[in-house]
Amino acid sequence: MEHPGFWHVFSVWVAALLTLIAYSFLYKDNPAYRFVEALFVGVSAGYGLAIVYRDVVIPDLWKPIHDEGDLLRLIPAVIGVLMLSRFHPKISWLSRWPMAFTIGIGAGMSIPATIQANILKQVQGTMVSPVVLDKATAMENAVASVSNVVLIIGVLSVLAYFFFSKEHTGGYGRFCKLGIYFLMFSFGASFGYTVMARVSLLIGRVTFLLYDWLHVGAVLLR
């Protein structure tokens, strides 16, 4: 087996100790936890900045200007730098130009794309037949039909619940209440997935602590 180098062992120990300090918050807030929290924010910001420098500033700005003489790259660079004028009250108005540029491009790009992807396609996806006959077996047809009916009633009842121009009373009120039940099912599913996600993060750390740090555990698959 290849022996891990000093820096690998060192980095594993640092990561393990930082993990334990982060989890110490679960027992009680303490200065060591707050240090690790601040360290995480600082390192994340520095890491992001270094990547932007390596993957964007050097290949997309410095090299084209310096090596190829592509001076057109100075235009977006200057527009970007104007964003920083917000830090000086006297010239902060200059930041409105890049902001206007960014908002204009963003709105122009996203409005038609969002209508197509999130509204028209989703409405189209709801236009299904309540009776399905094209499946292989009668059982599959029945399951698909029930699924489509639930989908149609679910969408309509939830939309009715969010229609506030008519009082939620009588038969219409009961239909709106059905919409609440559909919403509750949806919230329950989201909550279940959230629990799964949080436990997964804990599992990730436990796997690291047991296998990479302590080298213990029966299920050694790595």
């Binding site: 197509q116 997935y193 629990v195 990730g204 299920v219």
Partner: protein, 285 residues
């Protein structure tokens, strides 16, 4: 059976105390529940779900050397859930002799590309630049995704190592989405929305996603409309994909612990509700 008023009051006090239990006991029980299966595996089986199987089947049918693009739109904070997916998908692609292209819309995801591809391709002898390439990070989100549709080389003139686009064998013949078999977005943010809007709707790119458990419920509607070919949800999605590829990895390691933790949470939810109801019953003083 009847209770005296004192006994009923004592019972109610018990349920009230139970609701005020120090939450650190719950953390401890959950921690023990997660750790124990590492030493005594329970062998919980993972049954691949339809959304996972659809993605697997699609990739499985791609012809040899067809490029697959994976977008690593997450940082180290979500790596516990999404790294196992990246490795499982990459391993499947390498076994099928497909080429892999890694990109990211999140600067903190840039270094995760190489780590995942190296881990997946190590045993199969896959090499950087020949079988896979990391194009790294570009800012702009939607602008980048739209730009790839116009020409991948116009957005990424070099890879993250500085090698020019035209000198990378893994990118030979790859102009835009037309030449890419499928784009798989692994995300812990709203990045899948960007890929749907600008890659799927604008260029009809084949698209799938793997997202954190918190987000997965929000993306199921896109599966039904066919905008996504498949979806992997959280660590379970990774475990399902590993099961399909018959290559156990970090996803399956955690499934026993995940099951035990879920049973504990379900028991606590039931206990909490019973305590809430019981503490409101009986004579009031």
């Amino acid at each position: 059976m009847s209770h005296t008023p004192d006994a009923a009051s004592g019972n109610r006090d018990f349920w009230v105390r139970l609701q005020r239990i120090d939450r650190r006991w719950i953390f401890l029980v959950l921690f023990v529940g997660v750790v124990v299966p590492y030493f005594t595996p329970l062998g919980c089986r993972v049954r691949p779900s339809d959304p996972t199987r659809k993605l697997y089947d699609f990739i499985d049918k791609l012809p040899e050397r067809k490029p697959v693009m994976i977008s690593f739109d997450y940082g180290p904070g979500s790596a516990a859930e999404l790294d196992p997916m990246a490795v499982a998908i990459a391993r499947h692609c390498f076994k099928k002799n497909l080429r892999l292209i890694g990109v990211t819309l999140d600067p903190t995801g840039a270094l995760l590309i190489r780590k995942a591809f190296e881990k997946a391709g190590k045993d199969l002898g896959k090499k950087m630049h020949e079988d896979w390439v990391s194009l790294g990070y570009k800012p702009g989100g939607g602008v980048v995704v739209l730009g790839i549709g116009g020409g991948l080389d116009t957005v990424f003139a070099t890879d993250s190592e500085g090698k020019p686009y035209g000198e990378i064998p893994a990118l030979e013949g790859v102009r835009n989405y037309d030449d890419i078999g499928i784009v798989v977005d692994l995300a812990s943010s709203a990045a899948p929305d960007i890929w749907i809007r600008y890659a799927r709707e604008a260029f009809k790119a084949n698209l799938a996603c793997g997202v954190t458990g918190v987000m997965v419920a929000a993306y199921y509607p896109y599966l039904q409309t066919g905008q996504f070919i498949g979806i992997l949800g959280g660590l379970k999605g990774a475990a399902e994909y590993e099961q399909l590829t018959e290559a156990p990895g970090d996803g399956q390691i955690g499934m026993d612990s995940q099951s035990v933790a879920h049973l504990i949470v379900i028991a606590l939810v039931i206990l909490g509700n019973v305590a809430s109801i019981a503490s409101r019953r009986g004579p009031r003083g």
